[in-house]
Symmetry: C2
Subunit: 367 residues, 2 copies
DNA sequence: GTGAAAGCGCTAACAG
DNA sequence: CTGTTAGCGCTTTCAC
């Protein structure tokens, strides 16, 4: 099971022998620590170069209990928000010479625990927590040192925990005001699960503005962040006797689900019902979708989170960081009829009748 | 920098002391190795339980040179194909008690090298190679032991390397035959980069069938797997004097780009031009897209790849595995007018004129 | 400035 | 069956 000596590459001892110094001197040179005479340093460096020596992170981790490994906890890698976040986290981590492990929690605290226990034993240094599950207690239990975790995407409960999140409430407020300003009164909000504080903040923003506008009991549906649920909720409302004229989805993924369902039903967006999302994923900008949304500046959030984490991983004690990034409303065709609506332009000269039912699945045929 | 003793949790020595045995006995119990008297085993187990002892993977890795870490090399996490693959790889790895690190290579051999060097030092056990870059040499250089790598998504060049890929050529053939069967003669293929052997296999399948059908010089464009390029290629052809009546994109992501561009241009899919992709990502099934595609059974491919890798990581020598999984043609509205076309049903009662130009960007307004 | 020596927590011979 | 003894490759006192 163990790897033969030759395959392991040169060790610090090899370098020491070649350079005619002790291992501690080599170690000093490698870590650019303490004082080493220039001549010695040069000799050691030459030996390092000629051997192509690279220190073993495992041995280092064993001694230090650290590994230059970060974990990124996400709810669902299939939601395009998370890959986008992952990219930016990874890039920033790379700059600090850290490696990122992406952990898909499916919003289950058990998964969070499984990953963290495993990676901690592996020497995990820190965590970017971007999933929304009710696992904050687990995280604090496993990483009692608050400096080793940065929450993002959703604000944590613990006041000692660092975080960088978007202004979810403010973004939702701006979006809601915009919808009111273009004449909508009856607006439905397809929300997320109650344990997701970012989702709650968005609903709250919506509720505040609606209350101000004299609609104290606006339509709100709880949800689970799934596109499927988004579709169902949209249809339930549009089938109701007095359907809303506009829908806000708690995120773009849910909005996509709603859009698909509405179109499937033969409804016109935004003609029959306006639709908006939250996040600003790239797909929302596609002409196929053209979704009005609240842009979270995902990349920036990821980079900030990593920078904060790496700073906190340093020696000096630091107060917990708490950053709220501004959002930006992006108005597109799914709410504004003067802009291109989702998919418009397509069916122009089609006259074939859509084949509802009869076909297998949703109009698909396997061969 | 190093973690104080108390924070590190109980060690094997603590257990040995408590159970009044030697560390080797504890080690044996932990690894369920060799023979230990039942009474002793019970005593040791009791000590382990009461202390909540867990062996340190770092120390194990240091001794064994192994870490129960796998790397998954992907081209671009933003292409939905890869998150889907990542999920299945991760799930299967979890069952074998391995952790997966997702590495985004952007199809640059330099990135592959960077990740592998780092992770190998970390004790990386094996690699699932799903990116398509021309980095095979790098992989073999860094992991000369062929058993530690399984290629997927694209077949490797080295005959000793294991792989599990889809029948890319066969899938493309079936798709092409289908398009011919519904009356298309002039078909364009929006390909990938030449270094991507899976892309090449798909073009080749297309070429074979076209040649059989008496079209020895079919339209083929090289590409880079980007949606942007897919859009450009589609437009160049549709602007040509004698445009193709059908387009095949090398993957669904590129097809999406083409679809967006075509719709943007006001063309009808499939009326003006039929469009098909390859991969079978979930988004292709969305009613917004309804893309005919060749399903690769992504989940199955990921699971197989992991299973093969874990088997090879075992003791016994094994011949390299070579699996070619069948694909499945999924006919949807983007090629078959009797099925629901992409986005149909939407614009039914719209009469507003699409706002080409004049608006900022692609019909978007930031506030 | 530099070296010697003691571990980090575990596994793997080799003895008994 | 069980214990003893070396390390794995590095960092870190503590001397010189």
């Amino acid at each position: 099971m163990s790897i033969p000596r030759e395959e392991r590459g040169p060790t610090i001892i090899d370098v020491a022998n070649l350079a005619q110094v002790s291992v501690s001197t080599v170690s000093r040179v490698v870590r650019k620590h303490a004082d080493v005479k220039d001549a010695t340093r040069a000799r050691v460096q030459a030996a390092i170069d000629s051997l192509g020596y690279q220190p073993s992170p495992i041995a280092r981790a064993l001694v230090a209990g650290r590994s230059r490994l970060l974990a990124l906890l996400v709810s669902d890698i299939a939601n395009p928000f998370y890959p986008q976040l992952a990219r930016s986290v990874e890039q920033e981590a790379k700059r600090g010479d850290y490696t990122v492990v992406i952990c898909n929690t499916d919003d289950r605290a058990g998964e969070t625990r499984r990953y963290l226990e495993r990676l901690l034993l592996q020497g995990l240094d820190g965590v970017i927590h971007a999933s929304v599950s009710s696992d904050e207690a687990v995280v604090h239990e496993l990483l009692p040192d608050r400096r080793r975790v940065v929450f993002t995407n959703r604000p944590p409960t613990d006041p000692q925990a660092s975080y960088v999140v978007s202004d979810n409430g403010g973004g939702a407020e701006e979006l809601t005001r915009y919808l009111l300003s273009i004449g909508h009164r009856r607006i439905g909000f397809i929300g997320g699960p109650n344990f997701a504080t970012n989702a709650v903040a968005r609903v709250d923003g919506f509720r505040r503005v609606m209350a101000e506008a004299g609609e104290p009991e606006p339509l709100v549906a709880e949800g689970d962040f799934s596109a499927e649920h988004g579709g169902k909720a949209a249809l339930v409302w549009s089938d109701s006797p007095h359907p809303p004229t506009a829908l806000i989805a708690v995120n773009d993924s849910v909005a996509l689900g709603a859009l698909e369902a509405l179109i499937d039903r033969g409804l016109d967006v935004p003609g029959d019902v306006a639709l908006a999302g939250f996040d600003g994923v790239q797909l929302a900008a596609s002409p196929l979708v053209n979704l009005t949304t609240v842009d979270q500046h995902i990349d920036r959030m990821g980079r900030r989170a990593v920078r904060i984490l790496l700073r906190q991983l340093g020696r000096q004690a630091r107060p917990p960081a708490a950053e709220v990034l501004p959002t930006q409303l992006l108005v597109r065709g799914s709410t504004d009829p003067t802009l291109r609506p989702p998919l418009q332009g397509l069916v122009r000269r089609r006259d074939a009748v859509p084949s509802h039912g009869g076909q297998q699945g949703r109009g698909e045929r396997a061969t």
